[in-house]
């Protein structure tokens, strides 16, 4: 027995079945960000008045760089998922909503890529 209404059947506009992945990815990145953000915030705080060379070596050490790249991936993915929900809740116009989500995704992808390239460059001493 189907619980879908005849109208729903006719329109074929049911759930895209992608909600679970979105929800789960938001939680996985959230859990990853708990230790990563605390670690990074205190690391930056401790380095705040250090000279260039000290900061460069500290951020660029292999484990630091690996953790920062992980932080960047998790944080920007988490941000993109979160912003999508905000747009979906508040933007009624479909075209504006799609443009906002797509634009934000592209921008966040660019920012994440830029941040990762910076960290890799610092780590490799380029």
């Amino acid at each position: 027995m189907s619980l879908r209404t005849p109208l729903g059947e006719a329109k074929g506009l049911g759930s895209a079945k992608e909600g679970l992945h979105h929800w789960w990815a938001q939680r996985v990145t959230a859990v990853a960000l708990i230790p990563l953000t605390i670690w990074f915030a205190f690391k930056v705080a401790v380095l705040s008045l250090s000279d260039y060379q000290t900061v460069l070596e500290s951020i660029g050490s292999p484990w630091s760089a690996a953790l920062i790249v992980s932080l960047i991936v998790a944080a920007f993915y988490h941000a993109a998922l979160g912003m999508q929900v905000i747009y979906e809740d508040y933007i009624g116009n479909k075209a504006a909503r799609i443009v906002s989500i797509m634009g934000t995704n592209l921008l966040l992808f660019l920012l994440a890529t830029a941040a990762i390239i910076a960290v890799v460059r610092i780590a490799l001493g380029g």
Binding site: T37, A41, V46, S48, Y52, V55, M83, L108
Partner: protein, 131 residues
Amino acid sequence: MSSNNRPLSPHLDIYKLPLSALLSIVHRGTGAFLTFGSIVLVWWLMALAGGEEAFMSAQSFMGSFIGRLILFGWSFALFFHLANGIRHLFWDAGYGFEKDEVEKSSFIVLGTAGLLTLFVWVAAFSFGVGA
């Protein structure tokens, strides 16, 4: 047909938000703010990768009054979103839905966010002095 005397459900503009509702919208607000604020992180990493001159000018801006004000708001938003996010994970697991529990966890979230913000700034000033 229409009558002006019909009861209205409480609208946002005449309804005193309970603390839990206030924190709920602040969670969303800090999330959007942190997304926007991620530019600061990218800029700082880019400056560090760009060499000593770029890094020192970024550092001097961050050390200015405006820079510190931005960083202070940034750090509190981060720790609030972190603490309230952990509360959301407990809710997702099915715990803490009773009214008094929500009231209590609201204060725990605010206290944790405040303390972490305080600690990170104490760390910044105490470790920075010797360097």
